[in-house]
Amino acid sequence: MKPFAYVKPADVAGAVRAVSGEPGAKFLGGGTNLVDLMREGVERPDTVVDVTGLPLDTIDELPGGGLRIGALVRNGTLTADERVRARYPVLSQALLAGASAQLRNMATVGGNLLQRTRCPYFYDHAAACNKREPGGGCDALGGLNRSHAVLGVSGSCIAAHPSDMCVALAALDAVIEVESVRGTRRIPMTGFHRLPGDTPEIETELAPDELVTAVELPSAPFAARSRYRKVRDRASYAFALVSVAAALEVRDGAVTAVRLALGGVGAKPWRAHEAERILLGGPAGEESFTRAAEAELAGADVRPGNAFKVHLARATVVATLRELNTGEGTA
């Protein structure tokens, strides 16, 4: 690991000042992703600004029934929060499906939003990777790509976004609050992450000197009936091959509200707008669920290793909506 300077500011103003004009500075949350990447030499910050001393670790009520989640709330705390479990089960379940108990107790909401892909070539200096070294090429394209994305990919990068939490946040229309020396701004979750295009190294709309301070969840009463379904290679402690965050409200057999987002298949947490459009107002049933899933996946760009994800994603979307519709099964 490259030697670095370490600072631990006590307030937000100090934190954003510490990174302002310092392109080599990085925020440190729980460190569960950043420190691994520093060990591998993928991240090489000159200065590490530890933000875990900032007073951003509370979950507060918003007027109108939403919640404001501080960027330093630990994943383990958030998944267990009674309000989250009651109002946004999809979020609690998504967090619980991620990593391990030890990691969740360290990982922060801010760090989870900014966690980087698990593409094995990204981690390995012996490999070519446009994300790690722009312009270097992408070894995943013709290599091992079973875990890679099929939606939103480009000829430069097919890495999947790894986060479970982000998929739930995308479904819930969360808003990310960020702060820098220039002030505060709010970015909708669905616009927070970027598609790779020709610049896979730029992953979000966040400027390097901006600090995530909070995530706001708008009120969404129908989200009380929501679910996160994660499909992976072992029963626990593995990243999603495919995951589905869904909320569904059905009245008299017709869909009156729906939210759908996919994980494991997208270059970013994938809000399934097209599928939602097809479902909303239509009948709730196997046929429409399938049609919606297929429409969303129509643009899939697959490789030999990950072609199965299209079928798997369709099956998982249909199964998740079916379960929400009939109230059967468990996640």
């Binding site: 690991m1 490259k2 030697p3 060990r39 030499g41 698990r118 094995p120 070539y121 390995d124 200096h125 012996a126 490999a127 070894d139 013709g142 290599g143 091992l144 079973r146 499909v231 992976r232 290679d233 072992r234 029963a235 626990s236 402690y237 593995a238 091959l241 495919v242 199965f308 079928h311 798997l312 099956a315 998982t316 249909v318 199964a319 059967e328 099964g329």
Partner: protein, 756 residues
């Protein structure tokens, strides 16, 4: 999760400790952290080393720039082929010197500019701290002239060549004409199977602390074979064996990965010599994957022919596995097909491809674990073809003698294992129709498969010393790889001498002790037992001889065979005396006995034994799986293994071994695979985050049972249990999946994409 403790105890009325679920003697030291593993040793002035790995599969180093690495504060030395002191070449392999098998590879590390595999160490950084060493290692710049490399196992299959057999391991064999019989068979199956490379992933990564004192070398090491390691180091560094001390009292798991000597060990010793500092090299998880060999991938064909009643008329089992151009162990993949079924004709062949990859090595039940997957899956498919219960099919074809050569089995109770298992598991409740059993969204399936692993004994030199106070010390350089090595030998010695368990201390893990066998081949317990029994007997003979010299001794005129060792002494009915009394009367403060079997004598005996018997541990696996109807996710929901493993020494550690084997087999069945990029030969998942061993949620309650009938040809009748547990497991899962879904997955691991 019950074991037959109660039954074991009844049978063991005559003995006190053998068979009992005795707690590990080192359990407290391990759980409190008092036990120190190799990487935890500190020496004054100790430096830390880190490896730089090659990034090409084959080639020559063109340039090495170590300037930036040397500039890192704390860096002491950067060793490369340009400045490292030479090591002697790896020895040629010979069965007469088994320790020659200890070379993980034949590479002269840092002795050449040649690169033989992607990941080979090409430089070693030595620094004051591990952090400085690892950081500096990332700064070493190496350029290569690449040479063509053959790294794609699947693509090389057509170029496979016939494997050569040896006295110990035949590579093929024929009984009758199986091809003709197969063609004529009214019912047949012909299947192709593949298994991926697997890595051991012991919880403790390999580690070495090397300390030179002049020409004397001390090595703290995590090894499964102290004696081989010492001999190998003596050869490579040109010093006598007696100038080397290997200390390895605790090993955090090995599974075969610590049997041979790999780059890290040699380079730590080399670095210590070059820098004149004690050097510690604790491999990262990645470095373990890059420098320690793994299980070979395989391609297998199993074709079975049967008559309408299910009697096998043909069994064909062929395999392709790998070795490397720089070493590797030809694996006995078709081994189970030599022993499991009474087929009228049998055809067995093993072929090999040689690759420019790191040499493969043994991993828990080499050959048998992968071979049993293919054979036992094919048997299940044949049962489906025949419309016959798979247990019945196996019982119909259960041989009375070893199928290939008609030799008697020393012991074989597979029938009983299936009977007990079928009853206990509720096998009769299985509806044979594929996809016929459901539980909500889960398709439920039940599968069986046979476990089988050959048993053997290796030479073990053991001494036993008893002092006047009744304290007993058993000494043998065994390895404690987590199995309870010292615990079981203490039980055996306590019973054999008739002393309390607490009176026995077993010293292991140090090359200064009498030479032990390696911890491998499921042979350590039996080998150690043989040595302990012999030494204890000699000790009792000495005690008796002392006693008989005295006219007052109640043992006067007695023969050892008429006596019973109990209550701290030797007794005949109500007559007898304690060892303490014997020693006191003779004015002696201790007795010591023991010794060793010469290698030639051992080989002669082993070969004679092989000529007479076929002996093995075996068992029946029963499992239940659930497959998600939509996503194809497979979860194992129930497991029962009933084993015929001869006598059980310790019910607790035995259950742990068998259960551990089953867990590892579940990993092999569902999730484990080293992913090698077929373009570069580079392992792309060298971490526990991406190499998926089973986690708790993947493992159901595992019911382990054993029949507990001693084998007449093995020490104390024990058959060795370290490996039998994993054999057959992957097939049992695959067969249950077949039952649940109607799909035969013949390519491990059974990931959900194969079921969509």
């Amino acid at each position: 999760m019950t074991t037959k403790y109660a039954e074991t105890e009844q049978r063991q009325a005559a003995v006190k400790h053998v068979g009992r679920p005795v707690d590990r003697v080192d359990g407290r030291a391990k759980t409190t952290g008092e036990a120190r593993y190799a990487a935890e040793h500190r020496h004054p002035g100790m430096a830390h080393a880190a490896l730089v790995h090659a990034t090409v599969a084959r080639g020559r180093i063109e340039s090495l720039d170590t300037e930036a690495a040397r500039a890192v504060p704390g860096v002491i030395e950067v060793l490369t082929h340009e400045n490292a002191p030479p090591m002697k070449p790896a020895p040629k392999r010979s069965l007469l010197n088994l320790s020659s098998l200890a070379s993980g590879t034949t590479v002269s590390y840092l002795g050449t500019d040649e690169v033989h595999w992607n990941g080979q160490p090409v430089a070693v950084v030595v620094a004051e701290t591990p952090e400085a060493a690892r950081h500096a290692a990332t700064l070493v710049r190496v350029t290569y002239r690449e040479l063509p490399a053959v790294v794609d196992f699947a693509a090389e299959e057509p170029n496979a060549v016939q494997q050569k057999g040896s006295m110990i391991q035949p590579a093929g064999g024929d009984k009758g004409d199986a091809a003709v019989a197969l063609a004529a068979a009214p019912v047949s199956v012909d299947l192709r199977f593949t298994t991926p490379p697997h890595h051991h992933n012991a919880i403790e990564p390999h580690a070495t602390v090397a300390v030179w004192d002049g020409d004397h070398l001390t090595v703290h090491e995590s090894t499964q074979h102290i004696a081989w390691l010492r001999r190998h180091l003596a050869l490579r560094f040109g010093i006598p064996e007696r100038a080397i001390r290997v200390l390895s009292p605790y090993v955090g798991g090995g599974f075969g990965g610590k049997y041979a000597v790999w780059a890290g060990t040699l380079l730590a010793v080399l670095a210590a010599r070059a820098t004149a500092r004690p050097v510690r090299l604790a491999l990262t998880r990645e470095a373990v994957h890059r420098t320690v060999g793994a299980r070979t991938p395989t391609v297998q064909r199993v074709a079975l022919g049967a008559d309408a009643g299910g009697d096998l008329t043909a069994l064909i089992h062929t395999s392709v596995a790998m070795t490397s151009r720089i070493g590797g162990m030809p694996e006995g993949v078709v081994s189970p097909s030599r022993h499991l079924y009474d087929a009228a004709t049998i055809h067995l062949r093993q072929r090999l491809v040689r690759l420019d990859l790191l040499a493969n090595t043994s991993m828990r039940a080499p050959g048998d674990s992968v071979g049993s997957f293919a054979l036992e899956s094919a048997m299940d498919e044949l049962a489906c073809e025949l419309g016959m219960d798979p247990v019945e099919l196996r019982m119909r074809n259960e041989p009375a003698r070893n199928p290939m050569d008609g030799k008697p089995f020393s012991h074989r109770m597979l029938r009983e294992a299936y009977e007990v298992g079928a009853e206990r598991f509720g096998w009769r409740e299985r509806d044979p129709g594929a996809g016929s059993m459901r539980d909500g969204r889960w398709l439920v399936g039940m599968g069986v498969a046979t476990a089988y692993h050959p048993s053997m004994v290796m030479p073990a030199a053991v001494t036993v010393r008893m002092d006047a106070g009744g304290e007993v010390v058993v000494r043998c350089a065994l390895q404690e790889i987590g199995v309870g090595a010292a615990t079981v030998q203490a039980q055996i010695a306590a019973d054999e001498l008739g002393v309390p368990l607490e009176a026995v201390r077993v010293e292991i893990g140090d090359s200064e002790l009498p030479e032990g066998p390696g911890a491998g081949g499921s042979a350590q317990t039996a080998s150690g037992a043989e040595g302990v029994l012999a030494a204890c007997r000699k000790l009792k003979e000495s005690a008796l001889a002392l006693a008989r010299r005295s006219p007052d001794s109640p043992l006067r005129g007695r023969r050892l065979d008429d006596l019973e060792a109990r209550d701290g002494g030797l007794h005949h009915g109500g007559d007898g005396e304690t060892y303490a009394a014997i020693l006191a009367r003779a004015g002696r403060d201790h007795l010591e006995a023991g010794g060793r079997t010469g290698m030639l004598k051992f080989l002669a005996r082993a070969l004679n034994d092989r000529r007479r018997w076929v002996k093995a541990a075996c068992g029946a696996h029963f499992c239940e799986v659930r497959v998600d109807q939509d996503t194809g996710e497979v979860r194992v929901s129930r497991w029962l293994g009933v084993f015929d493993i001869g006598r059980v020494i310790n019910a607790k550690t035995a259950a742990a071994q068998l259960r551990g084997g089953i867990v590892m087999g579940i990993g092999m069945a569902l999730s484990e695979a080293s992913q090698v990029d077929p373009r570069t030969g580079r392992i792309m998942n060298p971490s526990l985050a991406e190499y998926h061993v089973p986690v708790h949620a993947d493992v159901p309650p595992i019911d382990v049972q054993w029949l507990d009938v001693p084998d007449p040809t093995m020490p104390l009748g024990l058959l060795g249990i370290g490996e039998v547990g994993i054999t057959g497991v992957a097939a049992a899962v695959a067969n249950a999946v077949r039952h649940a879904t109607g799909k035969r997955v013949a390519d491990l691991p059974i990931t959900l994409d194969k079921l969509l």
